[in-house]
Symmetry: C2
Subunit: 424 residues, 2 copies
């Protein structure tokens, strides 16, 4: 079968190197099965002839679809009407000052339609499902992957079926259920939910959006890097910092810079700092040891990166190594502190996994891994409204007063004296 997308050459197995034709049917390597995660290989020469630094803005698309020449979708395929991507990049000067760094930018992924970076991946899944004539999309997830799939599917008139373990807190399912997803709560572990989803997808021919299995998801995520290049006026930053769970997002971050590098739009790839929580750092350990990762407990508040058995370790570790980057782990207290620091200096309210990147930057500046004069982009991967319970652990208590102004003055003198310095 020929590739359906003109500028895609083929897919290639990241494990055995086998070449697979791009098609609506192919998702994993026929030889390595689910161990054989595929990479989408483009015809960079053809793309390079068609693109220029100015062509993206000229497309008029204020969304990830401005990068269609680099995506595994045909320009004519239907896109979701939601505005996915083209999120703001903030020049965070007060944050930089607080960190003792010269230049820090924050990429705010929390303003995506379902409030996380995962929308970029799910949008690709929904577009390819529709192009393939599928009516139902499915995955196993309790987190941002699921809500983004349900939202993107709803916006395109697709049905979605999401598998979750019975213990999943109902609060996390609300977005899915409101988007009209069929949520299947499996009496068992996350692994049981995943296995049942795989069986059902196979049996009923649904479109598979399981992370890592589907090679096109990373291709959606890479648009975050395209945007960073454009929004910085094509000045490639020295470092990009992103938190790491199953490894798909960091793989996407690298792929974006790689694509632009290969087509001559940029002349170097930034170093990538991958950040995990100390309570769940299988990829940090694998990076350090050079050996295959060992399954880890999942002891962190940053649930979006609490992945003890990462599904995309090869692409993730390649991303860090090929970029000349590094990986570090940060404790939960640092993540909570980073949530407050980010919110109070930039007005960006991030979920713990998003703030983990910032905590990693702070650590890397202290240790000298990242120089204070270097230009850094921190990716805030999701909105803090997704996880109010942990925000509660990060937030200071309010000031309690009676209804008298004298009472208030005393409390402010004790706790927020700077408020009294103006006007009186």
């Amino acid at each position: 079968m020929e590739s359906q997308v003109e500028h895609v050459r083929h897919l290639q197995c990241t494990t055995c190197g086998a070449v697979v034709e791009e098609s609506h049917a192919a998702l994993t390597c026929p030889f390595c099965a689910s161990e054989g995660i595929l990479d989408v290989i483009y015809d960079y020469e053809a793309i390079a002839r068609r693109v220029s630094r100015d062509c993206f803005a000229a497309s008029g698309e204020n969304s990830m679809w401005r990068y269609v020449p680099f995506l595994p979708v045909d320009p004519a395929w239907e896109k979701p009407p939601l505005r996915v991507g083209w999120t703001p990049l903030h020049d965070a000067r007060r944050l930089a000052r607080a960190l003792g760094a010269r230049t820090v930018f924050v990429k705010d992924e929390g303003v995506n339609p379902t409030a996380s970076l995962k929308d970029r991946a799910s949008a690709i899944a929904a577009v390819r499902a529709k192009a393939a004539g599928r009516r139902i999309v499915a995955c196993a997830s309790t987190g941002n992957a699921a809500s983004s799939l349900a939202g993107c599917a709803a916006s395109m008139g697709l049905r979605s079926c999401i598998f979750v373990p019975r213990r999943a807190p109902r609060g996390k399912l609300m977005q899915l259920l409101i988007y009209g997803a069929t949520v299947v709560s499996v009496d068992g572990s996350y692994h049981d939910a995943f296995s049942l989803s795989a069986a059902a997808i196979e049996k009923w021919g649904w479109y598979n959006r399981n992370a890592a299995i589907n090679p096109y998801l990373v291709e959606g995520k890479k648009t975050v890097s395209f945007e960073i290049c454009e929004q910085l006026g094509w000045q490639v930053p020295d470092w990009v910092v992103v938190s790491v769970g199953d490894g798909c997002t960091i793989a996407g971050v690298y792929k974006g810079f790689y694509d632009f590098f290969r087509t001559g739009l940029i002349t170097r790839i930034p170093r990538i700092l991958g950040v995990q929580a100390t309570g769940c750092q299988p990829l940090v350990e694998a990076f350090r040891s050079g050996e295959r990762f060992r399954p880890s407990p999942e002891n962190t508040i940053a649930d979006s990166i609490a992945v003890g058995v990462p599904r995309n370790p090869t692409k993730a570790l390649n991303a860090v190594r090929r970029s000349g980057g590094d990986m570090i782990a940060v404790p939960d207290e640092e993540i909570l502190r980073a949530m407050r620091l980010l919110g109070s200096t930039t007005g960006v309210f991030s979920e713990p996994a998003g703030a983990a990147s910032l905590a990693g930057l702070a650590t890397a500046l202290e240790s000298g891994t990242i120089g204070r004069e270097e230009t850094v982009v921190v990716i805030a991967t999701g909105n803090g409204l997704k996880d109010i319970a942990n925000a509660e652990r990060a937030a200071p208590p309010p000031i309690e007063v009676g209804p008298s102004i004298e009472d208030l003055r005393q409390m402010l003198e004790a706790r927020a004296q700077d408020l009294l310095a103006q006007g009186e």
Copy 2:
């Protein structure tokens, strides 16, 4: 004192008609005090000479600041770096079909930086506070006004002080606290919190962002209507539907269309349908009776519009009447149903107050108030992630299964048969 913004003529009291010079000091009418809500009066002739339908896009601003020629801010004043406004307008075809209407658009305000339309108002407050040399901004609120003020202030390096009644659920304060606001929890009612905020603002010279009191907030909100005009290619819709609490938002919606009408950018003003919850409908009753509103209990899940004593009744009722519009109330069950309908047909997850507009549209279509052939814009005022507890009431339960595919098949046959129709 002369007006500081060239295209602003003056302020005018909506109660007694007194003219007040625009300045950083003037907020309410000197004769009517807090009853004397001011309206910002522009020099429309001067503005009309400067603007055209094309000038906004040409500004390159993908935010509310593309409309600076119509705002009470000097173009040179510092703006918040957050991307406020220029939210997507979705052509919601499946939603329209479900309602039996021809053309329904949804304006998704939930993707604003702090996830509600109120960012448009708070951004103006923060800009004017900074221009006036203030360092501290304040308001009394437990809701979107407070979180938007705290976020916008943080992004501009301003301090914020927010007054809340002791009973305010801590979950609602999280956004504020993470943005670094000083939250003063007052042992008393909302009224006590408001009074203490007023006294503190007066005593310490803080910038006042209390709704209705500050006449510039409505001017920020009106940008939602500017965007609707531009995004519809200058085809004015027949109706705009918006939920109503204290009345400031609907006043802003009207003001936007009025400004564009007065400067010749559009040739008519759409009818405005104001929607309240049946458990708290003082303005619906005042609209019907023609008399002054009577304070109401606040019995609705839609907390953003649960306002028993609306602070901006005159501007709100004027907006509906002058547009030839109407007001209706909808029960909470209809609001919950509308949340599901909106989410599942468009991928927009709205807070109850936002979905109330849609519930109002459904009712107005049934009663014939709005014709099925008319073009309607529904404003979804805030993100559903702000209120997971009520989403929980709106959402259907998940399907519970054991980890066997046969078990799953039986459950799907009973509850989601359409998922089995594909591929087998």
